[in-house]
């Protein structure tokens, strides 16, 4: 009874239409991308096809870093490609790594969403002859050839202390507005800052470290509380992008604007208006464009066999100069980059 009731749907028309559609889409896309998609660069010479794989696409930070990579690759005449997942989930990068291995690209520059989940895929790609360089966010050291580190904890701590010392005349009370009380990165930096202050800036007194939990409103309220508790306060360091933006927002609308210095780690897009209206003189972060640029040159050096990723290897990185590989295959970009009113217009991330 039921079987006689079931409708059958002859789908000749739809079949043809769908097939045609898919075929058109496929050929159309591959025709449009044939030029840069393939990795085979011909037999002689090294395969300088380098693919950048950020945590996700449509992220201004990675747009900036990949633009730096593209600039470098154009300089040395390689082929630049950028692929990536639409969301930064732990395993979403795997299929792109596999694709790069299938295409036989020369090098892959990755910012890892997860230090472990993409490890096997990266090692399979390396077995297939792809040089793997991580930047911004590392994997386990045994899954990649090199890691381009944007900054060391010491560098980050020192640059912030130097900035605040310069802005308050190397004397007076300061406070720190951090993320959460158990944030590993921030705590390591704060400890180093305290050491640096004690050793090199005896006239600066760190009165309190408060925690805004990387929440905009909490950070805003904590800033207000700090300024009321310590009327003599001359400066605030906020080593977190959420904190510095919230503190700047509070300062810019308060009587303390221009009187209490604020610095820390921030992104140009968040901080632009506060730098332009004079609330903030300068703040630090690394320059993602340089990071991508260096990663591209490091990959080139690996592909051409100039370096193998051993400690002590050195290579040329175009406009950035010579770089040396440190322990565990880590290359350090350098001191954090300082953004101020003069250069903030050059950045968009």
């Amino acid at each position: 009874m039921f079987s006689h009731d079931r409708k059958r749907r002859p789908l000749g028309v739809a079949l043809t239409a769908l097939a045609m559609g898919a075929a058109l889409v496929l050929t159309g896309c591959s025709a449009g991308n044939g030029g840069d998609g393939g990795g085979d660069e011909g037999g002689d010479g090294d395969n300088l096809a380098i693919t950048f794989l950020p945590k996700n696409l449509g992220n201004p930070y990675f747009d900036t870093s990949n633009a730096g990579g593209e600039e470098a690759i154009e300089e040395f005449g390689g082929t630049f490609a950028e692929v990536g997942p639409s969301e930064a989930s732990p395993t979403s990068q795997v299929s792109f790594i596999q694709t790069a291995a299938q295409q036989g690209v020369g090098g892959l520059v990755v910012s890892a969403n997860d230090p472990e989940a993409i490890c096997d895929a990266l090692n399979e790609a390396r077995d297939a002859g792809v040089k793997v360089v991580t930047f911004d966010s590392d994997t386990n050291p045994d899954c990649r050839d090199l890691f381009i580190n944007q900054a060391t904890a010491e560098g980050i701590a020192k640059s912030q202390v130097d900035l605040i010392a310069e802005q308050i005349g190397d004397a007076g009370q300061i406070a720190i507005l951090s993320a959460s009380a158990n944030a590993t990165n921030q705590n390591a930096w704060i400890e180093l800052m305290e050491e640096d202050l004690a050793a090199n800036h005896p006239n600066i007194e760190l009165v309190e470290t408060v925690y805004g939990d990387d929440d905009d409103q909490t950070s805003f309220d904590k800033t207000a509380a700090l300024l009321q508790t310590y009327p003599e306060l001359k400066g605030i360091i906020s080593p977190t992008t959420v904190g510095i933006a919230a503190a700047a927002r509070y300062l810019s609308t308060s009587e303390y604007k221009g009187k209490v210095a604020l610095t820390g780690l921030g992104t140009p897009n968040q901080m632009r208006e506060y730098v332009e209206d004079g609330t903030v003189t300068s703040f630090a972060l690394w320059n993602p464009a340089d990071l991508g640029y260096l990663a591209a040159y490091a990959t080139k050096a690996l592909i051409e066999g100039d370096i193998t990723g051993e400690e002590g290897d050195s290579f040329d990185a175009g406009k950035l100069g010579e770089y040396e590989v440190g322990a565990d295959g880590v290359v350090l970009l350098g001191d954090p980059f300082v953004f101020d009113a003069d250069n903030i217009g050059d950045f968009d991330f």
Binding site: K7, Q102, G104
Partner: protein
């Protein structure tokens, strides 16, 4: 019922099938999906560089394996006009269980089996709420989607367990010796045959179509609708648990947010494979072709350098087209039948219904 049926058969004047066998076999939605898959593969082989390497087969099958596995019970569930949105959360939960138990020093086999049992319990919770309490599966599994994911993330927090015995991770990743086909295809094919036989060649399977077409009629025909649905959700949870263990091994990674959003990939593939969201229609072979079609298309487009957003757009358009074409053809068919009916009505007096 039986008497009526035999009487009908004795006097009926129409053929058993309105169309010849070849049309019934060839002009189905399943065949069209399979044909489309073949065409996509052929076109990709011809125009996409590097698509013809054996690595493609390995990577493709390995990555779609969890979706293939979960699509099997999902097909049965959607045929009964129900849905299970919690499958990806069960994958996440069982992945976390595998990780926690392995970290606690359990032998991996015991941890894996326990995780699959957790999946089974999760499926039983769904089944209980849907059949015994009588809530709609859409509402129940939206709830358990959040619930199971919440437990998974709560158990492990933001950390991940990444140390698993090499023997097992290799087992999950290795190919069948001498072929580019990953070893996970062996359990998949066993399960696919089991589910195929269950759906298409057993009374239980026939009852699923009956439930999907008309729940009341099925109940009056002697189908225990509640028990049937409970079993389906139990199967779904169990297979999702198995997929969760596999997923953990494949990426050597147990995290609470593993496989987030995978339920939509599974359901999309099932619908593309010709299963009606209104129940009562569909075949397993079409679903398998549907999963492979989405996977192959993605793989080929990635190789051709197409970005992930465009791939999502293409997959989405394909899915919408396939659903629209089904409705459109059904409408065409109704028009044609009614036109034939009118013609017959004009040319001859109506034939008495038996």
């Amino acid at each position: 019922m039986t008497a009526t049926a035999s009487q009908t058969r004795a006097v009926r004047t129409y053929k058993a099938h309105s169309q010849p066998l070849w049309r019934r076999l060839l002009l189905t939605r399943e065949t069209s999906v399979i044909a489309l898959l073949v065409i996509v593969i052929a076109v990709a082989l011809a125009v996409v560089p590097n698509f013809d390497s054996p690595l493609t087969v390995t990577y493709l099958l390995r990555d779609v394996a969890p979706i293939l596995l979960i699509a099997l019970p999902m097909t049965l569930i959607i045929i009964t006009e129900e849905i299970d949105l919690s499958v990806a959360s069960i994958v996440g939960l069982t992945s976390v269980m595998t990780g926690i138990l392995t970290e606690a020093g359990w032998p991996f086999a015991a941890a894996g089996v326990t995780a699959i049992l957790v999946g089974m319990v999760a499926g039983a919770i769904n089944g209980f709420l849907i059949t015994v309490v009588g809530l709609p599966s859409l509402a129940v599994t939206i709830g358990t989607l959040a619930l199971f994911r919440g437990i998974a993330v709560g158990l492990l927090g933001t950390k991940a367990v990444t140390e698993f015995p090499e023997y097992w991770t290799d087992l999950a990743k290795d190919n069948i010796p001498g072929t580019p086909i990953p070893g996970i295809m062996v359990p998949f094919i066993v399960l696919a045959i089991a589910f195929g036989v269950l759906l298409h060649f057993t009374p239980f399977g026939r009852s699923l179509y009956a439930i999907g077409l008309n729940k009341e009629a099925a109940a009056f025909s002697g189908v225990d609708v509640g028990r049937t649905k409970f079993l389906l959700f139990l199967m779904s949870g169990t297979v999702s648990g198995f997929a969760g263990v596999y997923f953990t091994l494949l990426y050597s990674n147990a995290r609470g947010d593993n496989a987030t959003g995978m339920e939509l990939s599974v359901i999309a593939a099932v619908l593309l494979g010709g299963v009606s969201i209104f129940g009562g229609r569909g075949a397993l072979i079409g679903v398998i072709a549907g999963v492979l079609l989405i996977g192959t298309l993605g793989s080929a487009l990635r190789l051709a350098g197409v970005t992930s957003d465009i791939i999502n757009v293409i997959t989405g358009v394909l899915l919408v087209l396939s659903v629209v074409s089904a409705s459109f053809l059904a409408w065409l068919r109704r028009k044609r039948i009614s036109a034939i009916g009118k013609k017959k009505g004009r040319s001859a007096t109506s034939v008495d219904a038996p």
